[in-house]
């Protein structure tokens, strides 16, 4: 099995998560060969891949070409991290006159699987690897961050008077931010059919103006 890890425009944090799976990495290397990973290894081959992970968003012609090539060479293409899935923080900047663009991978090529997160969670990455090396697409079950937060028995940030995007953000991270007392910023993107109106009016009832709420909302989410 041949794996490639490609970085487009992003902080490379999600690529680094491959190193943080520790023991899992050695097990993975028994079954798969990492042919292409320029961030971490000197000898890289870009030929045929069973799975290719693409991190970062598409912000220039070079990115686009790299991505299209990756799609051609890969059986399964995985969008790794929120930049690849939704465009990332850089996509929240309004388009400028000089032709700046910032696209998620899925708007340029077909994506087989999305692993959002900023950065993508190590456990989720390891679990997905286990699926992928066995030829199965990773399991997805869209719930909300609130689901995991409640199950962790954290104190609810919203009930304490703060702002937390947990109710409308896709689960899968284990709610680490609310656990540390910080409201969810929505780095994993939308949960299924999020109720933006209700969320905005909730924030407004806490005295936060609509423009500010929208800015917070679309930090990671793709504006439609």
């Amino acid at each position: 099995m041949h794996i490639g890890i490609v970085g487009l425009t992003g902080c490379s944090g999600c690529q680094c998560q491959f190193l943080n799976i520790y023991g899992g990495l050695s097990k993975l290397l028994e079954r798969a060969k990492i042919d292409y990973f320029p961030l971490l290894q000197d000898d890289n081959v870009f030929e045929e891949f069973d799975v290719i992970f693409v991190e970062g968003s598409v912000t220039c012609g070079e990115d686009k070409e790299k991505l299209k090539l990756a799609r051609e060479k890969a059986r399964v293409l995985v969008a790794l991290g929120s930049c690849a899935c939704y465009g990332g923080i850089q996509a929240s900047i309004e388009e400028t006159a000089c032709g700046h663009f910032c696209l998620p991978v899925s708007e340029v090529v077909e994506v087989d699987c999305k692993l959002p997160g900023c950065p993508v969670g190590v456990e989720r990455l390891l679990e997905s690897m286990a699926f992928l090396v066995n030829g199965v697409k990773p399991f997805e079950y869209p719930m909300t961050v609130c689901h995991e937060c409640r199950i962790n028995e954290n104190d609810c940030i919203i009930l304490k008077g703060g702002i937390c995007q947990g109710p409308i953000t896709l689960s899968g991270c284990g709610a680490p931010c609310p656990q540390m007392g910080v409201g969810c910023v929505g780095c994993r993107g939308d949960s299924d059919f999020p109720n933006y109106e209700a969320f905005v009016s909730l924030c407004e009832s806490k005295g936060i103006p609509k423009e500010r709420v929208e800015k917070l909302l679309f930090l990671f989410r793709r504006r439609r």
Binding site: K27, L28, C146, H147, R150, C164, P167, I168, S201, L202
Partner: protein
């Protein structure tokens, strides 16, 4: 035969020790702004001074994420796992005792799994167990029940297993005196007075929910709902789960995992091919009320709402079960205040 006993406060540790033969003991402890059930070994960690725990005792009975089996992908030999070992739940309020009973009607194996010790409580403004018919332990399943009195507990026995424990504690406990039983009755009287004055005829409301199933009122009621699923996650009787198989990296073993899901998530009604049977927020919102008050009654003969108030208390936008029901009644011209 139910007999009332008196256990001095100092005897709590002995009670904890004597229960160890039934399994690991979980009891309410303080964490953050609230209380949670946690495994404890020392009575001094236990804090009975709580209104409601963040999660109901179902977190031990029907864990939110549980491995249920393992199989080998080549031979497909399946081995169920994870049902070993009992559990002792110490400090369960009457509403949650009723919740456990409801769950046990769907999952009969739970009856054998848990030794349950109830404890008396005082309501806050979110509690409506009195209206739900689950304010008292008598009609629910329990092995022992403690009523907190000054300096000790009045201990009621609710099962044969409970009698066994009382036998073990002989010497420490004694039969309750007339005066203690009088104090207990007085406590219950005072407790009843603390409930909100308005009453909700829950049984009548369930009929209304059926009658109003196709009403537009749900659209309006669900407008503020964020669909976060908190109400079902904190509910002592919600049991919906989904499952998935996860292979290990070597591809030699596959684990089957079940995890709690919620009817508030669209994926709950999604089928292969992309059709959602409950695509709109109001349908999902309505489904919860329907299932709690109509569905459970038809399915297992007991309503799914035990009035613990968790869904109201933890809802981030403050949707309150009792207000929704009152609103339904009001729309039908029923004055719930009389």
């Amino acid at each position: 035969m139910r007999i009332s006993w008196y256990l001095p406060e100092t005897g709590l540790q002995d009670l904890v020790d004597s229960l160890s033969s039934f399994g690991r003991l979980a009891a309410p402890v303080r964490r953050g702004d609230g209380h949670v059930y946690e495994f404890v070994s020392s009575a001094s960690d236990i804090d009975f001074n709580f209104t409601r725990t963040k999660l109901p005792p179902k977190k031990f009975l029907l864990p939110y994420k549980r491995m249920v089996g393992v199989y080998h992908p080549e031979s497909m030999d399946y081995t169920p796992v994870g049902n070993e070992g009992g559990i002792v739940l110490l400090g369960v309020h009457p509403c949650d005792l009723h919740g456990i009973e409801v769950l046990a009607r769907f999952f009969p194996e739970l009856r054998e799994k848990a030794f349950v010790v109830g404890v008396s409580c005082l309501p806050d403004e979110h509690c409506f167990c009195l209206d739900a018919g689950s304010a008292f332990a008598e009609s629910a399943l329990f092995d022992l029940f403690l009523v907190l009195l000054e300096g000790g507990f009045l201990l009621f026995v609710g099962s044969a297993k409970g009698i066994g424990v009382v036998e073990k504690l002989k010497g420490l406990i004694r039969e309750a005196t007339e005066e203690e039983i009088f104090l207990c009755r007085k406590f219950l009287e005072e407790r009843t007075k603390l409930f909100r004055k308005r009453t909700l005829p829950l049984a009548g409301t369930s009929l209304l929910i059926e009658a109003l199933y196709h009403s537009q009122v749900w659209e309006e009621l669900s407008k503020d709902c964020l669909g976060c699923g908190t109400c079902t996650n904190v509910c002592p009787t919600c049991f919906c789960f989904a499952s998935y198989d996860v292979p290990d990296i070597e591809g030699r073993k596959v684990k089957r995992v079940e995890f709690a899901t919620s009817c508030q998530y669209p994926v709950h009604s999604l089928v292969a091919g992309g059709h959602y049977f409950r695509p709109s927020l109001s349908e999902r919102f309505k489904h919860r009320y329907y299932h709690k008050l109509v569905g459970y009654t038809r399915q297992v003969g007991k309503a799914g709402c035990v009035g613990c108030g968790r869904c109201s208390f933890f809802c981030p936008v403050g949707i309150r079960m009792e207000e929704v029901l009152e609103r339904l009644l009001y729309d039908q011209g029923v004055n719930h205040r009389c």
